[in-house]
Amino acid sequence: MRVSNNMMYTQSLRDVNSNHERLLRLNKDLSTTERIHRPSDDPTGHARAYVLKNSIDQNEQFKKNAAAAQDFLSITDTTLGSVMNILQRLRELAVQTANGTLKLEDREATAKEVQQSFEELRSWGNTKVNNRYIFGGVKTDQEVFPAAGVNLGPNDAGTMGVEVAPNVMLTYNIRGIDVFGNTTLPGNMFDAVDNFYTALTTNNQASIGQTIADMDKWIKTVNNSRTEVGSRVNRVEMAQGRLAEINVSLDSLLGDTVGADIPKTTTEFAQTQATLQAALMATSKSLPMSLVDFLR
């Protein structure tokens, strides 16, 4: 084969260049520990990583949604617990005062406590989470039980849902009507407390007996709501747990898809480096060789 000067140069340069190119790619893979830097590096791998990333992103959002629901539910639960305590205390008082031997001044003291309990119940009914009234349904910006007095509105203003998993909606609020009863109609919780107060102040023994039955009914109602809240908290927690698990496996899949195989890449890097060194060495020795140097 005839070898011309240009051939020596261009071929050596081509080999050195291709080694440099490989080294650059491996260098990038190693310094980012990823092997897909743009779609063309591996179109199907990129598409897979894209889907995985978006799934992870969606799940993270669902976890965030679930956390918001959880906040709401846990405050609802403690609030219902406090309401429950008040109702139980009222029932105790009703049982005590139902006893005919009680003196008038004892009844008056009890009546004061009942009045206080009424206000407490009202204030629990106006509980807020992140500045939202929790029992107002979707009317989260309006006071649920505005002022003393019984006619406080129906409090049935709808439920609020949140997506906690793909297409799984969870209602995270308990409507006021389901806890306190319809406050536009007689027979709601505040009515019952108010009746108790009236019975005490008017010393109406029979009516106090009715209060015990009322309190039993409302304790049951609140208890049902608490159970409902508990089961929803369970669902949210389960959903969150599952999402977390799914994300762990999605994360590892994503890592497998886009991550560079470090041992393999390192080995390849070392090999390429050795080849490049050899190519540079050979080029440096062979290129300057010329007959001219040997002629006198």
């Binding site: 000067n5 063309s40 990129h46 959002q61 979707v138 997506e163």
Partner: protein, 480 residues
């Protein structure tokens, strides 16, 4: 003895000429496109022994007596067959390189995978709706949503702007390329003229032919041409799919006519005096630029990335607007569209959110998170809009917006991968063709040094013959 002297003289002259050629070769060892030249030496016609005038004391009947050497011709060493292959393979390389370049830029513009690119912006947009669904009464989340919508709109506009300027750049490059090409064509025609003149006087226009070959190789990079040599004149005619670019010393430049949208059409004049016809650009970098402009970056061709980007933007705008208009804002008023209703039609180039949302103090109230007028905490409509993230959209061929974008990215990826493969194989092929050309035509300084020594010795030897004959003559003349 006269014959001997003449023969020695011809030896001297030939050696000198051959040295000249070697010197020329060495000087041009690094000249691109240069083919090494060779002095073809032939023996002079001999005198027939026993013929007339042959009686200088030589014995007769010994046969023909040689009369020395002469340089018959100085020719370039070139294999035209490899040249043809080189021209044929150069055009596809030019096309693939431009295509690859375009797609790499498209990929850079999309900038995926990244946490700042369009996919992330879309995800943030949908997530902002999710966040709003649980905090519909909280203005902080409304602001976050408005800004996510704004970023998404800007993201689309930015991508559109960058892809569009890449497209315009391709158009400008077409114009520049055609000018360059016409210039090369003109030079080839001019060289044809000189080559013809040299041929007519029996000369070998080696260096002119080298220049011409290099020009034709450059032309092949722009566009696939057919080259025919006219044996009688040595001129080369160049055709572009049947239309002449060069006929002998005449050149027929390609013409640019400004078409729709300021885009250039490449045309050739009609021989029969009709209107100019669209030139057939089969391959080469010009083909690559035309494809980049009219297919890859098109906003009308369904394969075009601008088309796809616009489709995606319009689909998101339409879907979100439809749901948003059906919802209720905090003000309880019938809702507006989420994206700017004054921009019609809306696509990626002009995507913008409803400016109402920027009004102080109540603009944000117009964001329709609720499904009914029930109350401020209602986020049902926000949830419905957020769920568009996984909705299969008919206008996008029944895939989700995210998947549609993913498919566009995959298309860019596979196309780029394929072009990279083609560029590499084509590059290797051309590398080996150029190696073959070098093997035949390249200058080896070592070889030329060898030649120089050879001819130097030949020169010295011929001189020695002369001095020997001189001595012989002196001996003869010394006889008294």
């Amino acid at each position: 003895m006269n014959i001997g002297m003449n023969a020695a003289l011809s030896g001297l002259l030939s050696a000198q000429r051959a040295l000249d050629v070697a010197s020329h070769n060495i000087s041009n060892a690094n000249t691109p496109g240069y083919s090494r030249q060779r002095a073809d030496l032939v023996a002079n016609p001999p005198f027939g022994a026993g013929g007339i005038g042959l009686s200088y004391g030589h014995s007769t009947g010994a046969g023909m007596v040689g009369t020395g050497v002469t340089v018959q011709s100085i020719k370039r060493v070139r294999d035209q067959f490899i040249d043809r292959q080189l021209y044929a393979e150069t055009s596809p390389l030019g096309e693939a390189k431009v295509g690859l370049d375009t797609l790499n830029q498209v990929q850079s513009i999309f900038g995926e995978p990244s946490d700042q690119a369009l996919n992330t912006l879309m995800g943030k947009f949908w997530n902002a709706w999710q966040d709003l669904s649980t905090h519909a009464d909280n203005s902080a989340y409304r602001i976050a949503l408005r800004d996510a919508g704004n970023s998404l709109s800007f993201g689309f506009q930015e991508l559109h702007g960058q892809l569009n300027s890449l497209r315009n750049e391709a158009n400008e490059r077409i114009q520049v390329s055609v000018k360059d090409l016409n210039n090369l064509v003109k030079q080839v025609a001019h060289l044809n003229q000189e080559i013809k003149a040299a041929f007519a006087t029996g000369q070998n226009p080696n260096d002119l032919q080298d220049q011409q070959d290099a020009l034709i190789e450059q032309i092949s990079g722009f566009v696939k041409v057919n080259v025919y040599e006219v044996p009688a004149t040595g001129a080369k005619n160049i055709y572009l799919a049947g239309d002449p670019l060069v006929l002998e010393e005449h050149d027929f430049p390609l013409q640019l006519t400004s078409g729709a949208g300021g885009f250039y059409d490449i045309t050739v004049p009609d021989n029969l005096g009709g209107p100019p016809r669209t030139a057939t650009i089969a391959s080469g970098s010009l083909r690559g630029l035309l494809d980049a402009r009219d297919i890859t970056l098109s906003d009308t061709d369904p394969r075009g990335f601008l088309t796809q980007l616009n489709k995606l933007a319009s689909a998101i705008v339409t879907q979100v607007n439809t749901l948003h208009s059906g919802g209720v804002g905090l003000n309880g008023a019938p809702s507006t569209t989420f994206f700017d209703p004054s921009v019609v039609p809306m696509d990626a180039s002009n995507m913008a959110i409803n400016p109402v949302f920027f009004n102080v103090p109540n603009g944000l109230d117009s964001i329709a998170a609720g499904a009914t007028g029930a109350g401020s905490g209602d986020g049902a409509n926000a949830t419905a809009i957020a769920q568009l993230r996984v909705a299969k959209i008919a206008g996008l061929g029944n895939v989700t917006a995210e998947d549609f974008y993913k498919n566009a990215l995959t298309q860019a990826g596979t196309m780029s991968q394929e072009l990279e493969r083609r560029t590499k194989t084509q590059d290797a092929l051309i590398g080996s063709l150029k190696d073959r050309i070098e093997q035949v035509s390249g200058v080896s300084t070592d070889e030329e040094m060898g030649n120089i020594i050879r001819y130097q010795k030949a020169y010295a030897a011929s001189a020695k013959v002369l001095s020997t004959i001189d001595q012989m003559l002196e001996t003869l003349l010394a006889i008294r």
